[in-house]
């Protein structure tokens, strides 16, 4: 049950990321993902960055060969799409801290949008390597969120880790929920800080995906299958897992440590994880 659809629109969001919009009517929730097939090439799990209405969107960052090819697609290039799969964010909290690192903002933006529209107050700690890599800054602002940017090079906002900004936020105000997505080490720090302060926390996790149907075990993370139980999982459960933030299963199923690129360039850049 797969649809082949043309790319309707491509928007360059930052120097390294682009949004692809395409017509795909199935109903989706913020935080869910689709399997995107580049015909004749790879099929990748991509969280939806636009979930409402028939026109969906994904926001892609070139992380491996396949995502590099995906990010270069232009109308009317065609994509195979199946899904949506997995569990998204609980949109009920009224006071939310969103913490996005790098392309992690792609999955957080539609969730924050839906929550803000429903009346939630949303603060966004948004991190990137440099000013022009801050993803969806304007989109977050347009939904009425307060922004707390951080860049590795200090070209905009706080100079340093977005997890430090998140810690400061959690110390200054009381939130009902923390949502985060980004490099796993960053997420681990953010979730630890939230749980330490007894704030319900949720992270959107990435793993190697094959079937996306809860069957093949490629995305096994502790007792979870990220494709079915996730990709959004409670911080409280994630923090119990030795491998969270430290290792992922590669395509052969072998537990493999994240290769963390050296600071400063790697601070908010992706760990060399499952992204292809």
């Amino acid at each position: 049950m797969r649809s082949v659809v043309p790319v309707d629109e491509r928007v360059a969001e930052t120097p390294s990321t682009a949004t692809l919009r395409f017509d795909y009517p199935p109903t989706a929730e913020p935080g869910q993902f689709v399997m995107v097939w580049l015909p004749g090439d790879d099929e990748l799990p991509m969280s939806l960055s636009y979930v409402e209405g028939p026109q969906k969107g994904i926001t892609v960052k070139a992380m491996g060969e396949s995502s590099a090819r995906l990010v270069r697609l232009r109308p009317p290039d065609r994509l195979g799409v199946r899904g949506p799969y997995g569990r998204g964010f609980d949109l009920s909290p009224r006071r939310i801290l969103v913490v996005g690192g790098g392309s992690g903002a792609a999955v957080l933006a539609p969730a924050a949008e839906a929550a803000a529209r429903a009346g939630a107050l949303v603060d966004v700690a948004l991190g990137a390597t440099t000013r022009e890599e801050l993803l969806f800054y304007e989109r977050f602002r347009a939904m009425g969120a307060r922004l707390f940017p951080a860049t590795d090079d200090g070209s905009f906002g706080y100079r340093g880790y977005v997890s430090d900004v998140a810690r400061e936020r959690l110390g200054s105000e009381s939130y009902q929920a923390v949502w985060t997505c980004g490099p796993e080490l960053m997420m681990r720090k953010v979730l630890e800080e939230a749980e330490r302060r007894s704030v319900a926390s949720f992270g959107s996790v990435e793993r190697v995906m094959k079937c996306a149907l809860g069957m093949c075990d490629a995305c096994a993370l502790g007792p979870f299958h990220v494709c079915r139980d996730g990709p959004v999982l409670p911080g409280r459960r994630l923090l119990d897992l030795e491998e969270f933030g430290r290792a992922f299963r590669n395509a052969s199923g072998r537990l493999t440590p994240f290769e963390v690129r050296r600071a400063p360039s790697g601070r908010t850049g992706r760990d060399r994880g499952p992204g292809r």
Binding site: M1, G40, R78, M209, K210, C216, P223, S252, G253
Partner: protein, 338 residues
């Protein structure tokens, strides 16, 4: 409450509903999760000599209620790495069956030796993957090769050996007889049925590997027919596989001659809870039909079973298991209850 225990390959299992190889078998936590969800035994991913990433995506094509097509390409971390995953399940008391695949009798033998040291209760030989060059069906559709591989593995381990056979053959009975001659303790059937999905808009196969294997409800009649033919051909216990998602599916396989079944694709449709749900429904079905134990159903659809081989077969069959257990599973105490 009906008795769901079943004896296969000289081992008594708590129920006949096993997790099929390739499903949830990459991590020890998943194997354990499947057992806790109600499986009678859990079978690992098929493990080979070294790490293997499998084929590129797309590796799976969902086909709706019919089932799905897959060509994962036997991804596995290899026999050196994988025992640490088995350990996580075995140490929690989970009855694990180790699945192995190789390209030759030598490779199967080495893998069986290594697998025997991991704490698994039995070994399943993958002689039937339909889409891996040099493995699976390519070695498993030749009765002589099947016999040779089983015989070599049989000599290399004290564990029960289950030969998993392919449906992609004109004579499943001949393969089953070959496995029996080689000394297998049981056979399982079927693996997926060779299949292909084409994307018409793009004029190309969907799966990166092209050819894949069909699983799910669509193949139940194929599995039933294979189990039926194998039951007619050999005296070993049979583990039925193919399109099982409900208690009546299980009953049909038992009636065709299976002593246990494996469930795989239904996990995608119904979640891992399928094991608990089906176990309960099977017990209810047996109660409703006045069936006290599975043996009353196994092979019962074969015309003339009672006249031709009915209870005598069962007696012979039990005796032959016993012989085999004594002669082959040396020094093992009577079957442990799992």
């Amino acid at each position: 409450m009906a008795d769901l225990t079943t004896t296969v390959a000289g081992v008594r299992w708590r129920n006949p509903l096993w997790l099929a190889s390739g499903i949830w078998g990459e991590s020890g936590e998943s194997l354990r999760g499947a057992y806790e969800a109600g499986a009678g035994a859990v079978i690992t991913k098929s493990i080979g000599s070294g790490p293997r990433p499998g084929y590129p995506n797309p590796t799976v094509e969902p086909l709706g209620p019919v089932g799905m097509l897959n060509a994962l390409g036997l991804p596995n971390p290899g026999i050196e790495e994988y025992p640490r995953e088995i350990e996580k399940a075995v140490s929690a008391g989970v009855p694990v069956i180790g699945s192995i695949f190789g390209g030759s009798a030598n490779e199967f033998t080495a893998l069986a030796r290594a697998m025997s040291r991991t704490g698994v209760r039995a070994i399943e030989l993958n002689l039937s993957c339909p889409h891996a060059e040099g493995f699976g069906t390519e070695v498993g559709s030749d009765p002589h090769l099947v016999e040779r591989i089983v015989r070599r593995v049989r000599a290399a381990t004290t564990l029960p050996v289950i030969a998993k056979l392919t449906p992609n053959t004109s004579d499943p009975g001949a393969l089953a007889r070959a496995a029996e001659r080689g000394g297998a303790n049981a056979v399982s059937a079927i693996n997926t049925v060779r299949g292909l999905a084409i994307e018409p808009e793009l004029r190309r196969p969907v799966l990166a590997h092209g050819i894949g294997g069909l699983s799910g409800p669509a193949i139940k009649p194929v599995g039933l027919a294979c189990v039926w033919q194998i039951y007619e051909a050999i005296d070993l216990p049979i583990v039925g596989i193919g399109g099982i998602s409900t208690a009546t599916d299980v009953v049909e396989y038992l009636l065709a001659g299976a002593s246990a079944v494996e469930i795989g694709t239904a996990v995608a449709q119904d979640g891992i809870e399928v094991f608990g749900t089906v176990a309960k429904a099977l017990s209810d079905w047996m109660d409703r039909h006045g069936v006290g134990e599975l043996a009353e159903l196994i092979g019962a659809a074969h015309p003339g079973r009672r006249a031709k081989r009915g209870s005598p077969r069962r007696t012979r069959s039990v005796a032959s298991h016993r012989r085999r257990r004594v002669s082959v599973v040396r020094g093992r105490s009577p079957p442990a209850m799992l």
